[in-house]
Symmetry: C2
Subunit: 129 residues, 2 copies
Amino acid sequence: MAFKAELDGHSFMVDADAQFGGQNLGPKPKGLLLTALAGCTGMDVVAILKKMRVQPSLFEVDVQGDLADEHPKKFVTIVTEYRFEGEDLPVDKLKKAVSLSEERYCGISATLAGNVPMQSRVLLNGEPV
Amino acid sequence: MAFKAELDGHSFMVDADAQFGGQNLGPKPKGLLLTALAGCTGMDVVAILKKMRVQPSLFEVDVQGDLADEHPKKFVTIVTEYRFEGEDLPVDKLKKAVSLSEERYCGISATLAGNVPMQSRVLLNGEPV
């Protein structure tokens, strides 16, 4: 089941779990879609916060999705958690950067919008804001 | 702009082009969505052909997408090319495996269906079939 992916001059393996005949030589395809969303919106937020002169000490994006039980096992929900850490960060600007990405800039979000119910949460220093 | 992606026990970098402040330390997010689709449908086709006892000597999946010109730069078309090589391969079974993936099994296709016009082509030993 393993495929060698070649993309933007980089190559890596994509594989299935053992239960589907794979050997876990690389990430699974479904997770790559979530990674695409995480990277897309994460880069937006970094770029927007930079323009706002807001500099978190740490920024992580965690994307989780649920799949349909029956074939085709499409995504039925996607939840994106934006985790910021840092002192004296302006909550309103963090949330504004996230909403600008989700509503205006992120091409992956826009590609999925309407087909998959998507939620998001913003955490600052471990607390929802 | 670079993020370290952690997925299924594997980690790799995701990055942007230099024009958007990246250093090309890893693939870009938009391409990861296409890779997700390629891997998902490719694994389906391998599994279906195995059940049909059809064994190509080579099988590649090439996925190309076009993005909108304006923000949000979502996918506006995706074209998937299935490339098989081998002697005496049954064209009808190759095409059946592809259509079963596209219409019934591939969860990534189903996640995108309706939002993005998708086309596909099947090539056998370099010739469209």
